[in-house]
């Protein structure tokens, strides 16, 4: 389990990184950020890049800051930075709670938010967060800078609309208004394992009624997705256990789960009901 040979390039600036990527993309040149998924792939020789462009030395990409109504997460911001509170307010708390369930601490010390988005594992917490919260993904190449909505960015398990010569320089997540309630839950076999199903719920309550509900489900289909039917069930209703159960049933009915040997379609369907229910229940506490 030794990686195949490659040439190494330590980029100092974003411009240098995208220039290197432009040069080597067609020879399977790849970016390395945290490497916590990429290096295992290389160890198994499932990935065998000829050139590896390291962006860890680009100081600008370590930026984690709120600008206006948006949290901007640079490409080498680690999971651990979000775990310890990436920003004040509801969004910071939400991301912190989710971060704690990503793999294990030594992985979180190295792995990055943007890397996880680019890796596009169906069960990744950050992909679910990005889709549910309407994040934007900034992709830069020597050709252009594109700002992509998370909705539509993921095209399948481990695949995205990112071009081979594009570098994700940051992700932007809209802040959540004060008073926004949220809940997250996932089910995995052991602590730190990839989720067999995960759900993220956010909403606000105005005059005792739910407004702006968002329900996202990950680890179930090849890409995380929001469940419109469940959100519709919540919108305008008073939050209570019966309502949450009904929304969870809508969610379970709305997914077409993967069957990957780890969990069958039927089991995943039942897990969706469980995680959506629990995510919503948690929003009350």
């Amino acid at each position: 389990m030794k990686p195949a040979p490659f040439d190494y390039h330590a980029a100092r600036t974003v411009e240098e990184a995208v220039a290197l990527l432009a040069e080597y993309a067609d020879r399977d040149g790849r970016i390395i950020a945290g490497g916590q998924s990429f290096v295992p792939m290389m160890a198994f020789r499932l990935a065998r890049p000829s050139h590896v462009i390291d962006i860890n030395g680009i100081a600008a990409l370590g930026r984690l800051a709120v600008e206006g109504e948006v949290l901007r997460i640079g490409a080498v911001v680690r999971h651990a930075a979000l775990e310890t509170l990436g920003c004040a307010g509801v969004l910071g708390r939400l991301l912190s709670q989710m971060a704690r369930l990503i793999a294990h601490k030594p992985i979180r010390n190295r792995g990055t938010f943007c890397g996880s988005i680019v890796n596009a594992d169906p069960a990744a917490e950050w992909c679910l967060a990005a889709v549910t919260l309407g994040a934007e993904i900034v992709a830069q190449s020597v050709r252009e800078i594109r700002v992509l909505g998370a909705d539509g960015f993921f095209t399948g398990a481990m695949t995205t609309t990112l071009a081979p010569d594009e570098l994700v320089t940051e992700c932007r997540i809209p802040l959540l208004r004060d008073g926004t309630r949220f809940g997250f839950d996932e089910v995995s076999r052991r602590a730190g394992d990839f989720a067999m199903a995960a759900a993220l719920a956010t909403y606000r309550v105005e005059d005792g009624r739910i407004v702006e509900p968002r329900i996202g489900v990950g680890g179930v289909e090849p890409c995380p997705k929001r469940i419109a039917a469940a959100e519709a069930r919540l919108a305008g209703a008073a939050p209570d256990h019966r309502l949450f159960a009904a929304a969870a049933s809508e969610a379970a009915a709305a997914v077409e789960p993967m069957d990957d040997g780890e969990a069958s379609r039927g089991y995943r369907q039942r897990l969706v009901r469980a995680v959506v229910t629990r995510a919503l229940e948690r929003s009350l506490s």
């Binding site: 030794k2 195949a4 040979p5 020789r45 052991r190 969990a263 229910t277």
Partner: protein, 778 residues
């Protein structure tokens, strides 16, 4: 219960035997100075990489090596054609002739039979280069249909050879009559998943041939170095005195490590042929598809019982999934399953038939508590089913059937490895009583009932296990005292991390009257002692410990005889305290140290006499019978009603170990065993897809418990029934922590979901448990 021969170390009067002293092994291991085989390098060594089959079953059409051979740094690339003169890997012990055609060749010969089977090897200057070149070896295979279910009808292994390699059976009593006359017959169909030991250190081996002295060395030996020396010598047609095996630090064994595998022979063959040391370090993916799997069995079992729940007869049909070849153990796991199935219970009539069947998966062999983990699950599940049928509780049904202490020794009319099973000693009912009390069974049950009434899915389950240990017949040890008073114990034992050095040092120190920290213990080095049993089947502490005790006793006798002259007192009035011989009646008076005695009696000294000079002895320990430890496992689990996930809230083990050499280490063995047993009960499984592709070939897919999943195991160590079969009364403790875990967890899940007998298959994955739960609520 105490046999007349059990007089060695009187309880409560020992200095270091029976005490929880810290381990002499630990210092290098906590400072990063241990030396595992991967840490060892020899000048001019090269590295081996194995090219493995990617098909579960198929005919090899062609193997193309040119590209691999052309990689700079590659020394050689071999396929079966290059080693065609070497035989397949033989069985360690004589095995049935019928098994011979199923032995594994070092490299696949015309046919591949599992994903992971060695097909070729690349020998190169570095592990990275070896792996680069191995990727370029193109193996063209014409796929054949894989056989993946041992309970399905057998197919052809080769022309004229069935995939059912062997049928084993054992029986006694009138089974047919018992079933005819039974009050009722209780049946179950049960299965245990494929899982294994998976030590944290992968396997590794360095072959080194010293042409100057014509000695072949194998470094990285484990478990049974002396037995493997004989096997390697036979394999290569060499004198065994020219084959030396060397153990390094070993990162866990659990039965699977230290058997001879193709790679061990290949590094030896390559080192002799290429004239340089050859190092092979397994990677984790290889380990999960190439090292021995274990456990996978399917049972159709039934019991004839009377109206009170007493077992009249037991009958079982077993299908063992052996995987693609029969390895060094032959059919031992199946034999042990049959032999130990009745466990601690009176079973007047018994018949079990075992079907030893090959499939297209990784070959299987022993893993901690081989045959007993499986058999205990089956038997205890059956006991629970009998209890449910007759409306008894799980404790009552066991009490009614346990063999009584006054029936000991109890001759079970079965054999294990050809040795008759004669249960040596035990107060099974007494330990069950003590366990329930220490655990707080009644109060716990009451509390669990309340919680269930409040809607929780919680329950407690228990299992009773019987283990075997200390199988003889003989082992030896050398004990010597140097002129500085330091003691060396040379054994043919082996250390896999279990604390062997400390245990031997404690036995020697207690016998001799020295500080255990002044005792150095040698193990796993075939050039230091002629014979050795290694460390397996919970034998080392009993057998090697017995030999160390015998040798240290002889050294003590010599020391006292010499000192008796110098101190002018009869030897039986002398004692050895902290390495000095003193008069019992005047411990602060005149004394002489063991170092001085050693110096005075050394070779070349006047007065050494006609006997063996020095404070030195090589002694043997012989025993006919085995020591049978036993115990109770109790688990409390909580089932998540929405996901089927099982959390173990509490885990308790009571076990009688005869005498505990070091209670801290005994607890460590039990706690570690439980978590491994729990792994097989809830998480670990080598899964395959329909094409025979392994689905559990990474640590992200083969799920071993972490600290989050592991309960804090509570342990009650009992010493009610020392074994009469060895002078220290010891029973081995390596396996009992594992043995009862599958059974106890299954029983607890049943209780939690309120459906007796629900769990019929391990591992009880969340998906399986959720469907049981939903069925129970319907």
């Amino acid at each position: 219960m105490t046999g007349a021969s059990v007089t060695a170390f009187e309880k409560g009067k020992t200095r270091v035997f029976g005490r929880s002293v810290s381990r002499i092994e630990d210092l290098p291991l906590v400072t990063g100075r241990g030396r595992y085989v991967a840490d060892l390098d020899f000048p001019r060594q090269i590295h081996m990489r194995v090219v493995r089959s990617e098909e579960a079953h198929g005919r090899i059409v062609a193997i193309r090596l040119d590209a691999a051979r052309a990689v700079p740094g590659v020394v050689a690339v071999w396929t079966h054609a290059d080693i065609a003169g070497l035989p397949p890997i033989d069985f360690r012990d004589p095995a049935a002739e019928a098994l011979k055609p199923y032995r594994q060749p070092l490299l696949a010969k015309g046919v591949v039979r599992y994903v992971g089977e060695p097909v070729a090897v690349v020998l190169a200057e570095s592990p990275y280069v070896a792996e680069d070149a191995a990727e370029l070896v193109a193996v063209e295979v014409e796929a054949l249909p894989p056989l993946l279910d041992a309970a399905a009808p057998p197919a052809a292994f080769a022309p004229g050879l069935s995939t059912e390699a062997l049928e084993l059976s054992q029986e006694y009593g009138d089974v047919a009559a018992a079933f005819r006359e039974a009050h009722c017959i209780v049946e179950a169909e049960l299965s245990i998943g494929r899982h294994s030991g998976v030590p944290m250190e992968c396997r590794g081996a360095i072959g080194r041939y010293d042409a100057a002295y014509d000695v072949l060395e194998l470094w990285g030996a484990a478990k049974v170095p002396h037995r493997n020396r004989e096997a390697l010598a036979r394999f290569f047609g060499r004198p065994s005195s020219s084959v030396q095996l060397h153990e390094c630090h070993v990162g866990g064994g659990f039965g699977i490590r230290g058997e001879l595998y193709p790679e061990d022979f290949l590094v030896c063959a390559a080192s002799m042929r290429l004239g340089c040391p050859v190092k092979w370090i397994e990677d984790r993916r290889e380990h999960l598809i190439a090292a021995n799997h274990s456990r996978q069995q399917h049972h159709r079992v039934r019991a004839a019982v009377d109206a009170e729940g007493r077992i009249l007869a037991l009958e079982d049909a077993i299908f063992l999934d052996q995987g693609a070849y029969v390895r060094t153990h032959g059919a031992r796991v199946l034999d042990l399953t049959l032999a130990m199935l009745p466990g601690p219970y009176r079973v007047p009539a018994f018949r079990a038939v075992g079907h030893f069947r090959l499939t297209n998966k990784t070959p299987a062999a022993t893993y901690r508590a081989p045959g007993r983990y499986e058999g205990t699950f089956v038997r205890e599940r059956l006991l629970d089913a009998i209890a449910a049928r007759l409306g008894l509780d799980g404790v009552a049904i066991r009490r009614r059937n346990l063999i009584a202490s006054n029936e000991m020794p109890y001759a079970r009319q079965l054999t294990a490895n050809g040795h008759p099973i004669i249960l040596d000693s035990g107060d099974y009912a007494g330990l069950l009583r003590a366990a329930l009390e220490a655990f707080g069974w009644e109060e716990t049950e009451a509390r669990l009932r309340e919680r269930r009434a409040a809607g929780e899915f919680v329950g407690a389950g228990l299992s009773f296990f019987l283990e075997k240990s200390g199988q003889g017949p003989s082992d030896s040890a050398l004990v010597s005292v140097d002129s500085g008073g330091f003691v060396e114990v040379v054994t043919g034992g082996a250390s896999l991390g279990q604390g062997f050095e400390t245990a031997m040092a404690q036995i020697c120190a207690e016998t001799l009257g020295v500080d255990y920290r002044r005792v150095r213990v040698v193990h796993g080095q075939t050039d230091r002692i002629r014979f050795g049993i290694g460390a397996h089947a919970s034998r080392a502490t009993v057998m090697t410990g017995g030999a160390v005790h015998a040798a240290a006793s002889e050294v003590r006798r010599k020391a006292l005889a010499q000192a008796s002259v110098l101190l002018q007192a009869p030897a039986d009035e002398l004692d050895i305290v902290e390495g000095r011989v003193v008069r019992r009646d005047a411990p602060m008076g005149a004394s002489i140290s063991l170092g001085e005695l050693s110096r005075a009696s050394g070779p070349g000294r006047d007065g050494a006499g006609n006997g063996m000079p020095g404070l030195y002895s090589e002694s043997w320990f012989h025993t006919e019978g085995m020591a049978f430890p036993y115990g109770v496992h109790i688990a409390v689990v909580r089932v998540d009603r929405a996901t089927g996930q099982v959390a173990v809230e509490r885990y308790f083990v009571a076990t009688d170990v005869g005498r505990a050499v070091n209670p801290m280490m005994v607890e460590g063995q039990i706690a570690g065993g439980v978590v491994q047993g729990l792994g097989g009960a809830l998480y670990e499984e080598f899964r395959y897809d329909a094409a025979g592709q392994p689905l559990s070939a990474t640590f992200a897919a083969y799920l071993m418990p972490t600290m989050r999943e592991a309960p804090k195991v509570e342990v009650l160590i009992a010493e009610d029934a020392p074994s009469p079969n060895n002078p220290l009364g010891i029973k081995g403790v390596g396996e009992g922590g594992c043995t009862g875990a599958g059974a106890a967890i299954a029983s607890a899940i049943d209780a939690a979901i309120g459906r007796p007998g629900a769990v019929t298959a391990l591992p009880a994955t969340p998906e399986r448990v959720l469907s049981l739960l939903e069925a129970a609520r319907r």
